[in-house]
């Protein structure tokens, strides 16, 4: 049986985290290929529907990452993102989503090793937790 390779969707803000991921690439810092990065202009623009849609489409884990609090290019993005994330976490918890599947991070441009580390951690955890329960849909009634 092939080993389960979790699929992670990362929403990375253009100015910080996306740049960090980019630099990790150019610096040849390895991080697992399980992640697909979606560049957003700011973590504050991440709407819960993106995360939910990602799970609907089969993601095993989702990362929402952006600048640190005071560094945001648009000033208060991270604040908005935190507020959104707090509520979203409660919603998906109620859904029974395992904690490991949805993660929030603040990663600045210069912190590419941290980015790689986060991805490594997530992949390891998700391998243990297994495929997302949302992958398997119920059979419709005949």
């Amino acid at each position: 049986m092939a080993e389960f390779e979790p699929k992670i969707i990362a929403f990375a803000c253009n100015w910080c985290t996306y740049a960090a991921a980019d630099i990790a690439g150019t610096s040849r810092i390895h991080y697992p290929a399980n992640v697909r990065i979606v560049r957003v202009m700011c973590s504050g623009m991440v709407d819960p529907i993106y995360v939910l849609k990602a799970f609907e489409m089969g993601a095993d884990g989702v990362l929402v990452a952006g600048c640190h609090g005071i560094d945001c290019h648009y000033l208060n993005g991270p604040v908005k993102c935190d507020a959104m994330f707090e509520k979203l976490k409660r919603v998906v918890n109620t859904l029974g989503l395992e904690d490991e599947r949805l993660r929030r991070e603040m990663i600045s441009t210069s912190e590419s090793p941290i980015f790689a580390q986060v991805i490594e951690e997530m992949v390891e955890q998700l391998k243990k937790v297994g495929p997302s329960p949302f992958k398997v849909k119920m059979e419709a009634l005949a």
């Binding site: 609907e56 509520k87 979203l88 919603v91 109620t94 859904l95 029974g96 329960p133 849909k137």
Partner: protein, 383 residues
């Protein structure tokens, strides 16, 4: 299912194009592009695309005001519901409010292997029992709590109040740990696949629980279980709204109420009123509480005006105008309190009353409370 089939099934061909429906439709009153008559006319003339790709197809509130007066007895809401299935097949789903989170949640719930944590809120204050004959349906309340925090609406307040009321009436209901969304919104927006999956799951849960009656505090869940589920699954038990249960018990058990001196008015939810014909039970409950003075709004009973949004779809400025009109009617009665019997109505009214910085168009404000909460406050302890 194609359009021809829908016309045949719903007997829409009887439509006389008289326009009576549109003249009393709450949406048509504000949205000049929405006309129930035009939607049917397009269908009857075979203009399927004009119907299916019309964004306005999803603006119908399915509130049933039109059908109360239609001389040809056309069931317009069901016609719309079925037309929306064709729309969904064509990738149309209207404009989803709250960026589609609520619709997405319903779809996510169809996964058979999730393990929900729906009862974290349940405290020792309330008594439940595994062996009860009566099930209290909790519904989407645990999910609404985080989503609607900003408008200061905690749907679980209604659930807790319902539990408290049941306890005080001597009922320790069962609560399911793995309830899923009743599927009302999916059904009414034409997402039959999601609806069927949810229905099957819930029916199996109910069968396993072996209860004789399910009590609802949400009229949408109540309507769905009562009228829609039987077309797809077999429930094998009775369903009832909490206002009906209260109306029964108040007569029988000599329930004692504290005096609450308030002038109140009552919003008939579309699903409880026009869909199911339950107008008297909530009023009987209100009138049994000493000190409560019930004043009716200008349009009450079967003429009640819908709260403005259905199935979290096509919620727009016209919906807001409609809500404002209804809140004005409530304020005009001079009542201190607007009593609702539906968490959706309460959500939408509260949203309207949140100050959106429109000084030029202030929304009339009134305190809102669910019937269950009012009763929970009023029942005397230790009977």
């Amino acid at each position: 299912m194609n359009l021809e089939d829908i016309i045949q099934e719903t007997k829409t061909y009887y439509c006389l194009e008289c326009g009576k429906c549109t003249s009393i439709c709450p949406v048509a009153r504000y949205d000049p592009a929405f006309s129930p008559r035009m939607l049917i006319e397009n269908a009857l003339l075979g203009f399927e695309d004009e119907l299916v790709f019309n964004q306005k197809l999803f603006s119908c509130l399915t509130c049933y005001t039109c059908q109360q007066e239609c001389p040809s007895d056309v069931d317009f809401p069901i016609f719309v519901r079925k037309a929306r299935t064709i729309a969904q097949d064509n990738g149309q789903h209207g404009v989803c409010a709250h960026s589609g989170q609520l619709q997405s949640l319903a779809r996510l719930m169809t996964s058979p292997t999730i393990k929900q944590k729906r009862l974290e809120w349940l405290s020792k204050e309330y008594s439940v029992s595994e062996n009860s004959d009566v099930l209290l349906w909790v519904g989407c309340a645990p999910y609404f709590e985080p989503i609607f925090e900003d408008i200061e609406f905690r749907a679980l307040d209604i659930t807790e109040a319902s539990l408290k009321v049941l306890n005080l009436l001597g009922i320790k209901p069962k609560l399911l740990t793995d309830e899923k969304c009743c599927g009302h919104d999916a059904l009414w927006t034409g997402d039959i696949e999601t609806f069927k999956k949810l229905a099957e799951h819930n029916a199996a849960q109910i069968k396993e629980a072996g209860v004789k009656k399910i009590v609802f505090s949400c009229p949408e869940g109540y309507r769905t279980f009562k009228l829609d589920y039987p077309n797809y699954v077999d429930l094998g038990c009775e369903v009832q709204h909490i206002s009906e249960l209260l109306a029964e018990k108040i007569g029988q058990k000599g329930v004692k109420f504290k005096e609450i001196n308030k002038k109140v008015t009552y919003q008939d939810p579309c699903r409880l009123g026009r869909h199911l014909g339950v107008y008297d039970a909530p009023r009987k409950v209100l009138e049994s509480i000493p000190g409560i003075e019930l004043v009716e709004m200008k349009h009450s009973g079967w003429e009640s005006i819908c709260c403005g949004t259905s199935a979290w779809t096509n919620c727009d400025s016209y919906s807001n105008l409609l809500r404002t009109e209804r809140l004005s009617e409530a304020v005009e009665t001079g009542a201190e309190l607007l009593i609702t019997a539906c968490p959706k109505c309460q959500t939408h009214f509260r949203c309207a009353m949140v100050d959106k910085g429109e000084e030029h168009r202030p929304t009339p404000k009134i305190e809102i409370m669910d019937l269950a909460n009012l009763v929970a406050n009023a029942i005397e302890e230790g009977r």
